[in-house]
C-alpha cells in the first residue's frame, strides 16, 4: 500500500479540459472518494491514476515516486470497473491468478494467494466456476479478489455498485466498507452516488466541471460545504439569500447571531440542512421560531420530506419525523432554527 498524490494535474482532450489542475493527496491506507455529476472529470482522474490517460500537466506520484508517464501495466494498480470486466474465458481462480502470473509469481504461490483472497471474500466455492454464471454480487467479489491479488499500490474502484439493485447495493456497501477497513488498502473510489461515498470513504473530493470543489471528511463536506455546488450535491440543502450585518445574520424571516465564518457585512448565501430544522413540539425551544405552510409531503419511510412555504414566499425543504402523522398539506406548522444550523457558505 502506498501514498498516492495528484499534484496540480490537468488533462485536456483537444480543446476540452476534462480535469483542471486538481491536487489530491491520498494517505497510505486511506479510502478517498471522488464524487461529482456525470462529466465532471472523476473517471478521467481515476484513469490518470491508473495510467490509461497521461496528464497534460502536473505530476502523479506513488510513494513520492513520479509515475506520470509510467504505462498502466507497470503501475501495479488494482482496478474494479462497473461491469467488473471479468475474463469469461477463464475460471474464477484463473481470473484471480492472472495478475500474479503477469508479475512473475510462481504457480503455487499465486494459487495460494488466490485461494486466500477467495476465502477472505467468502467465495472460495466459486473457484472453478465461469464468471458468466455468477450473480452481480459474486462477480463484484471476484473483481475485487482479482484486483487485490497483485497487492496493488492503490485499489481503484470505478462505480462498482452501479447497476446492482438497491438491497444488494446496501449489503455490498457494508461488506466492501468493512473489507477495505480490514485490508487497510489505499483506495480511490469514484462514484456519482454521494451516499455511497459518504458511508465508505475516509475523505471525499467533490468535483464539478473538471475542478476540485472541496476535499474533506464526509462530515466536513456535509456540514461545512465550501460552496453552493457542494452544498447542493451532497445531501439536501436549503440555500437562502441573507444579509450579514455586525455579527447578525438576517434571513428575512428571522435574525440570529452570525457564525464565526460569516465573512464581511453584506449579502450572503446561507445553507440550512433539512434535518437541522426543528419541527413540531421541539421547535418552540429554538432560538428563532417561524411559521411555514406545508405545500408538499413525500413519505420516504424513515422520514417524511416536506416543502414549507415561508411568509415571504420562499420555500424550505423540511424533514419531518414519521410520528408527525397529523401534518397535512396546507397546514401551518412552526419551525425552529438554532444558529448552529445556519452555515454561511458564500458571502459578498
Amino acid at each position: 500500500m502506498s501514498e498516492v498524490s495528484l499534484d496540480n494535474v490537468t488533462k485536456r482532450f483537444d480543446s476540452t479540459v476534462a480535469v483542471d489542475g486538481i491536487s489530491i493527496d491520498i494517505d497510505d491506507g486511506e479510502v478517498m472518494g471522488i464524487v461529482g455529476p456525470s462529466g465532471c472529470g472523476k473517471t478521467t482522474a481515476l484513469r490518470l491514476v491508473a495510467g490509461f490517460e497521461t496528464a497534460t500537466e502536473g505530476t502523479i506520484r506513488y510513494d513520492r515516486e513520479d509515475v506520470t508517464h509510467v504505462p498502466p501495466e507497470n503501475r501495479n494498480v488494482g482496478l474494479v470497473f462497473q461491469s467488473y470486466a471479468l475474463f469469461n474465458n477463464m475460471s474464477v481462480l484463473r481470473n484471480v491468478t492472472f495478475g500474479p502470473k503477469m508479475h512473475g509469481v510462481g504457480k503455487d504461490e499465486r494459487r495460494r494467494r488466490a485461494r486466500e483472497l477467495l476465502e477472505l471474500l467468502d467465495i472460495e466455492e466459486l473457484a472453478d466456476r465461469n464468471p458468466k454464471t455468477l450473480s452481480g454480487g459474486q462477480q463484484q467479489r471476484v473483481g475485487l479478489a482479482r484486483a487485490l491479488a497483485i497487492e496493488p499500490h492503490i485499489l481503484l474502484l470505478d462505480e462498482p455498485m452501479t447497476g446492482l439493485d438497491a438491497k444488494l447495493k446496501q449489503t455490498l456497501r457494508q461488506e466492501l466498507g468493512e473489507l477495505l477497513d480490514e485490508l487497510d488498502v489505499t483506495t480511490l473510489y469514484v462514484t456519482h452516488d454521494q451516499e455511497q461515498a459518504m458511508s465508505m470513504c475516509d475523505r471525499i473530493a467533490v468535483m464539478n466541471d473538471g475542478h476540485l470543489e472541496q476535499i474533506g471528511t464526509p462530515a466536513e463536506i456535509y456540514e461545512q460545504p465550501a460552496n453552493e455546488f457542494v452544498a447542493g450535491f451532497i445531501g439536501t440543502a436549503n440555500l437562502l439569500e441573507a444579509t450579514v450585518q455586525d455579527g447578525t445574520v438576517s434571513l428575512g424571516f428571522a435574525e440570529m447571531a452570525a457564525p464565526q465564518n460569516a465573512g464581511p457585512n453584506g449579502t450572503a448565501t446561507v445553507m440550512i440542512r433539512p434535518d437541522d430544522i426543528r419541527i413540531g413540539p421541539d421547535s418552540t425551544d429554538a432560538e428563532v421560531v417561524a411559521e411555514v405552510e406545508v405545500t408538499n409531503l413525500f413519505y420516504q419511510g424513515e422520514t417524511i420530506q416536506a416543502t414549507g412555504r415561508l411568509p415571504d414566499g420562499r420555500t424550505l425543504t423540511l424533514s419531518l419525523d414519521r410520528s408527525l402523522t397529523d401534518v397535512g398539506t396546507g397546514d401551518s406548522i412552526p419551525i425552529g432554527l438554532d444558529p448552529a444550523a445556519v452555515h454561511v457558505i458564500e458571502s459578498g
Partner: protein, 277 residues
Amino acid sequence: MADRFESGGLSARFGRPFVTLVLGLTLLFLAFPVVMTFVSSFGSDWFGVLPTGFVTFDNWRDVIFGTGVGADVAVGSSLAYSTGLALGGVVINLIVGVPIAYAVARYDFWGRNWVNVFAILPLAPGIILGIAFLRTYPDLSTSGIALVIGYSLLKAPYMVMAVQSSFQSMDLQQIEESARSLGASWPRTFLTVIVPNARTGIVAGSIISWTLAAAEFNFSYIVYSRGTPPLAIFLFNNITNASFLNAAAAVSVFFLLIALVTITLQIIGNRGAVRRV
C-alpha cells in the same frame, strides 16, 4: 367483442392453419430439390417423373473414387485440396480480419467507418477479382496461392462481421484495461484475454468463411488452370460431363458438407447460449 371470441373470427379460425400451410409449402419448395437430388443419387435410372432402380451406390462410387467420366478425379482429392486452400484463406482472414474487427469495435479513429465499410462489404465479385488477378499476376494462375489469396479477399467480410459482433457484445475497453492494470502488456492482453473471449465469433467466422471459400465457384473457375480441381470445379465438371445421377451424388457431397457445417455452428451457438445463463 366477447361474441367474436366465442364464434371465432376469420383470423381466429383460419389464421394459424393458414400460416402453418404457408410455412409448410415454403419448406417443401426449399427442401424438395435438395431431397430429390440426394434421393436420386441412389437411383440407377431417371426417365419418367421419378428416379427408379433403387438402391444403388454406383453414382457415389464414381464420385468418391473418381471412376466416372465426370471430373475424372476422386472427390476426396478435390475435397482435400479445397479444404487446404480454404483453410489457407481462413488463416489469412484470421490474421487480418480479427485485428480489423477489434480496431473497429474498440477504437474511435479517423476513417473508422470507411475501414468498416471496406472490411465488411464484398466489394468485388469473384469473377471480376479472378480476371483482375489473372491479368495482374498471370504467373500465379497455376499455383494454389492465387486461390488462397482470392478466397481470403472474397470471404474476409464474413470473418470480420462474425468476430466484430462477438467483440461488440463485450466491454472491450474495460476488459483490456483490467488486463493491463494487472500487468499484462498490450500484445499479451490481446492474445490471452481479448481473442479467447471472442472465441465463439472467431469459430463461427472461420466456419462460414471456410465453407464459402470451399464452395467459391466464380473465382476458382477463372483462376484454376490445371492439377487437382478445387471442389467447386469438381462439382461443375461432374454436373456438366457426367450422367445426371452421377452429378446428383457429387452435389450431395456438397449438401452433406453444408449440413455438417450448419450443425457444427448450431452446436457452437448453443454452447455459447448455455454458458451465458
